[in-house]
Each structure stands twice: as C-alpha cells, then as structure tokens.
C-alpha cells in the first residue's frame, strides 16, 4: 500500500494544494493506454502536453499528492521559455518571474568577472528567468488539466515495469493497493532517483564529483538586483564556493560548498546552517540582517547519462535519463528539450506517421545532447568545485591570477545551458541548399526568433506540426508545391505554410508575414523569392533551400519522417 503524505508541505511563499489520489476502484476497467508517463515533474508534464498537442493521449502518474518540495529548479533559459510558450505556460512564467542577464564572480572581495548575456531585440524572452519550480509545476499542471487528452493520477506510484512484446505493464501502487496498467509506451520521467531505471538495472555513464553543496532558500530583504552571484574561497568558507540567486517572493537561493569530509547530515543541522548563512550575509555587507529558512537540501555534482534512452517500450527522459550539475542551470532546462523532442517523435510513431526509426533519431539526438552537455558541465564543475589535486591547483592559480590578469577571467564563465543543434541529425535533408546559405539557422538548429511587431515574434507562429517558411511576394504559392502540401496533409501530417515577404495574403499559405523591412529575410539569409525553410514540430530546422521545388520538398519530408 502506497500512502503519500496528505499533509501540505511547508513553505513561506507557496500554498500547496493536496490533490485527491486516483483510485482504480472508482473507475471503470482500464483499456490499454497509448502512453503512460511516470512522473509529473517538468519532463513528464511537458512530454504529456507535447503529445497531446500532436493528438496523442497519455496518463501521467505522480507518486505524491502535491507539487515538489522546495524551489528546486529556479533558473529557466530563453530556449526553455520558448518551449514553455509552445505548451502554453510562458505568459504565466513571465508574469511571476524575475528575468536577468548578468552574472558576477567575486574573489577576495574583488569582482573578477562579469558575465553579460546578450538580449537581442529579436528575442521575446530574457536569457534567464527565475521562477520557483512549484509555480512552474502548477502552471504545467493547469495546462495538463485543461487538455482532454491528458489524465493526471495523483498518489499513483509506479513500482514495476514489465516489458511485453508490443507493450509494457506498469504495476502501480496506490492508497488502496496496487493495480496494473497496460500501455503501448511507458515514459520514465521519474527523476534523478528513477525507480524504473533502478528496477531495470540500467547503469549510467560518467563522473560523480566528491564535493557536497548545501542548497538553502531563505526569505531575506537584500537590496540587490536579480543577478547571479558567485563567491570563491571566502574567508568564512576557505577553498569553497558560494552561489546566490534572487527568487520571486523575497526569497534568495544560497548554495554553499561544504568543507571536504563533512557529512550532509551534519551540514543540514539548523545551527550549522544558521552560522554559515549569517557568516555569508555578513561577508557581503549585511551582518545581522533578519532572515528565515524556507527549504534546504544537499547536492553533489554528477555528470552521468544513460547510454541509451529507449529500452523496448520504455523511454527515459529528463533527470531519469541523465544527471547534470547545477552549475549552468542544466537540469530542468535540458529536461524541457528532452520532453519537447520526445513528444513529437513518439507522437508521430504512435500515429503511424513514421516508423520506429524516428525514435532511433530521438535517442541519437538527445543522448548526443546529453553527452555534449556533460562535456561542458564537467568543465564548469571542475572550476566551481574542483577535485583535489591538479584541478584544484589550476583553479586556485586562476583565482589568484584573475586579480590582476584579464586573460584568465573568461574561465569564470559558467557555460549556461543552451539549445542543442542537431547538426548531424538523420532527419536533415541531404539534397537541400543548407551548405549554400551564408547565414540563418542551419541544419538541426533551433530557429532564430524575429520581432514582427510590438508583441509579436516569429516563434509565436511556429510549432505544433511541421512549418514551411516560404519566402515570396507572389499572389500564390507555386502549384507544384501546393500539390506536395496537400498530399502531405492527406496523410495526416500537420504542415503549415507561412509566406514571408508579401503585404497581401498568399494563396496556398496559412499565414503571411509582410516583412516590410526585409529583416526576417536577412536573419534567415534568404536573398530572393523562392527560398524556404522546413521546420520540425520541435522547431528545429531540417531543410532549407535558396530555391525550393516540389521534388526537393517531398524528399525533405520523406527524410524527416522515416518509414
């Protein structure tokens, strides 16, 4: 019997709702489901929302009866916001969030590095926005509840997954005991301590680092802007690193590294935390300021990934698939990209619009992304919390030199999570003009956003299916292209046509953007009429042409949806 707590979690700034458990006895006999998603965190809910967007129903299981405890993931990148915009929660994130783009690193009281992330007028979203994870989960949950194709089951804990020939069986424990769910596909989005991953005996590859960090959220009134703060080797915590972020609702995140050998249990003693946080606040000039503890946890850096995310009919995503260090805000931000990718790849397989080869592509793209992220995250970790020996010596030498030598200061850069470019994706068209473009987003890249009006951007119009950007000022789309588009749609493939460069409606296009000043054409490197981009449902580019013809459009669509 699984009995999750019915006590609302404590929080200074967030009121937890305790949901009713879903009980099998109160529902009719279950049919086999298309997709069951284990885990109602960011990865699970974005996967469900993306699947639903492509017309595929899912059941989402949460072992708990409420959103996760503590702020957890707080920094969301621009690409994450673009993905959250796709699933309809970006406005709420923006409304409650604190956007920022500057970061500062301090050593011996001197600011030795300042990161200034660019914010282009063509971007709708800031480089980063801070929102506590409970709010983000609430927004995603509201969106899931509003969608008829998504069913969320609170208090349902997946305890075992059995692989069958063409489906999987999930044994689910609930407050009234266990029941069995049959599903064609199971998405394991059950987080860093994935029970499904353990039960299937899957080993992750990579490195676990030694140092522990305490993560503490405190309510305190500090007259500081929303910028990332990093302190290296301060007097109160020699050799170690401290990070600070402002969160909404008067909360500050303070992460501090523990001295080597100290146990997490000892570090989480209230008197230990009080002494250290007081010392830190004193060091930054706020000795004796009143503060209250909201939540704390302990963390150690790991750069680990499953070597494959797809196992039979079970697919791992988010933290269940890989564990990434906090330096560079890679956990939830990577999970959103995983989930957005998985959503359409799986949906198109479920709907029979492509073969399982499409999932082979998903695994290649996302395992590749995880490995690339791990490579970068390893560099950040070896600077933020260097292992003893050579890395510690080098890091300390850089700290010391940075007081006077500018050339080492860029080493403080923390390599923020960024969108992966699927440059070598098997979905990229082979016979297009990708190599002939001199600018614009290339094969596998996410699109460049473009400001179209006061509150209108190109990305507002992309996603949910394939998008064909066709650059023309003619009255109508060429007849031969229209035929390919019609045939494609007849197969059940969503393909929207956006004509760019015409002040009037273009026959055969679903939308026209006049692009009167030519800015969009310039951002996309299209010099003349007849150029085009084909964009996948996850907004990544899979083909582009200086002059599009029907044969090459058909070829690109065939490549993007392998049979």
């Amino acid at each position: 019997m699984h009995t999750p707590t019915t006590q609302a979690r404590p929080s200074i700034y967030y009121t937890y709702e305790v949901f009713k458990p879903w009980l099998a006895s109160q529902h009719p006999q279950q049919k086999r489901h298309q997709v069951v998603i284990v885990g109602a965190g960011p990865a699970g809910m974005v996967t469900a929302l993306e699947l639903a967007r492509h017309g595929v129903a899912s059941v989402v299981l949460s072992a708990e009866l409420q959103f996760s405890q503590g702020s957890r993931a707080i920094c969301f990148t621009r690409r994450s916001m673009e993905i959250l915009q796709q699933v309809g929660v970006a406005d709420r994130m923006t409304k409650g969030g604190l956007p920022w783009r500057f970061g500062n690193s301090y050593y011996r009281g001197q600011r030795v590095f300042r990161m200034e992330a660019p914010h282009d007028p063509d971007d709708r979203f800031f480089p980063i926005i801070n929102v506590q994870q409970q709010f983000m989960e609430e927004y995603l949950h509201d969106a899931c509840q509003a969608h008829p194709l998504i069913e969320i089951r609170w208090g349902n804990k997946a305890v075992q997954v059995k692989q069958k020939e063409d489906h999987a069986e999930v044994e689910v424990d609930t407050p009234e005991g266990p029941y069995t769910l049959e599903s064609c596909w199971v998405v394991a989005a059950d987080g860093g301590r994935s029970g499904i991953r353990s039960a299937m005996n899957l080993d992750m590859e990579g490195t676990s680092y030694e140092g522990f960090f305490v993560i503490a959220d405190i309510k305190v009134d500090l007259p500081l802007p929303t910028e990332r703060l990093a302190y290296f080797d301060p007097d109160w915590n020699p050799d170690n690193t401290i990070l600070m972020h402002r969160e909404p609702h008067g909360i500050w995140r303070v992460d501090y590294q523990l001295p080597a050998g100290e146990t997490p249990e000892a570090a989480l003693q209230p008197e230990s935390m009080k002494a250290r946080i007081d010392a830190h606040l004193a060091m930054i000039g706020h000795a004796g300021i009143k503060w209250d503890m909201d939540w704390s946890s302990v963390y150690s850096a790991r750069t680990l990934t499953l070597p494959d995310f797809v196992h039979g009919n079970v697919i791992f995503t988010g933290d269940a698939a890989h564990l990434l260090p906090i330096f560079g805000v890679r956990g939830a931000n990577t999970a959103f990209q995983d989930a957005q990718s998985l959503g359409w790849h799986l949906a198109y397989v479920v709907k029979g619009l492509a073969s399982r080869k499409l999932l082979t592509n998903h695994r290649a793209e996302r395992v590749g992304a995880a490995r690339e992220i791990i490579h970068e995250a390893g560099k950040s970790t070896r600077f933020m919390a260097p292992p003893a020996g050579g890395f510690k010596l080098l890091r300390d030498a850089v700290l010391s030199l940075s007081l006077t030598q500018a050339f080492v200061r860029p080493l403080y850069h923390w390599r923020t999570s960024r969108p992966h470019e699927y440059t070598h994706s098997m979905l990229n068209s082979l016979g297009d003009d990708n190599a002939l473009f001199t600018t614009g987003p290339a094969h596998g890249a996410p699109p460049h956003n473009v400001r179209l009006g006061a509150n209108e951007f190109l990305l507002d119009h992309l996603g949910g299916g394939f998008d064909l950007l066709y650059f023309t000022d003619a009255e109508s789309m060429p007849e031969s292209l229209q035929q390919v588009i019609t045939t494609t749609r007849a197969k059940g493939i969503a393909l929207r046509v956006i004509a760019i460069g015409s002040p009037h409606a273009v026959m055969g296009a679903d939308l026209h953007l006049s692009d009167a000043n030519g800015h969009l054409r310039q951002r996309y490197g299209v010099p003349a009429n007849g150029g085009a981009y084909l964009i996948r449902p996850d907004q990544h580019i899979c083909a582009r042409w200086l002059t599009l013809d029907a044969t090459r459009l058909q070829a690109a669509l065939n490549t993007a949806l392998p049979q």
Partner: protein, 62 residues
C-alpha cells in the same frame, strides 16, 4: 623541442630568478606559484600546441 632562444647568460638569469622565487613563495605556495607562472608563460606562448610539447618534455625522466 623548439630551438632555444635564450642566451646562456639569460638562461642563467632565469635559473637564479626561478629558484629564488620558489623559495620566496615558500614550500606551501610553491606549486601554486609555478602553476601561475606556467599559465602566464602559456598565454605569452599563444599556442596550446607548443605548450603541450613543453608539458610532454617536462614529464620525461621525472
């Protein structure tokens, strides 16, 4: 190795300067000092490849 560019006189100066500086840094800080120096020299070399050959040469016959 690259062709030596220090005259014998200069090499002798470097020899004495480095020895004295290591003592000045003290036993506790000698490694830190040498790493700082290596980074400054690497930056002046402006070549990760040349630095790599120096690392390999220095690792020989320890």
């Amino acid at each position: 190795m690259t062709t030596p560019t220090l005259t014998l006189t200069d090499l002798e100066t470097v020899y004495d300067t480095l020895a004295t500086a290591i003592d000045q840094a003290g036993q506790d800080k000698a490694s830190l000092f040498l790493v700082k120096l290596a980074l400054l020299n690497a930056n002046a070399l402006a070549s990760a490849d040349v630095f790599q050959t120096h690392v390999q040469a220095a690792l020989q016959d320890l």
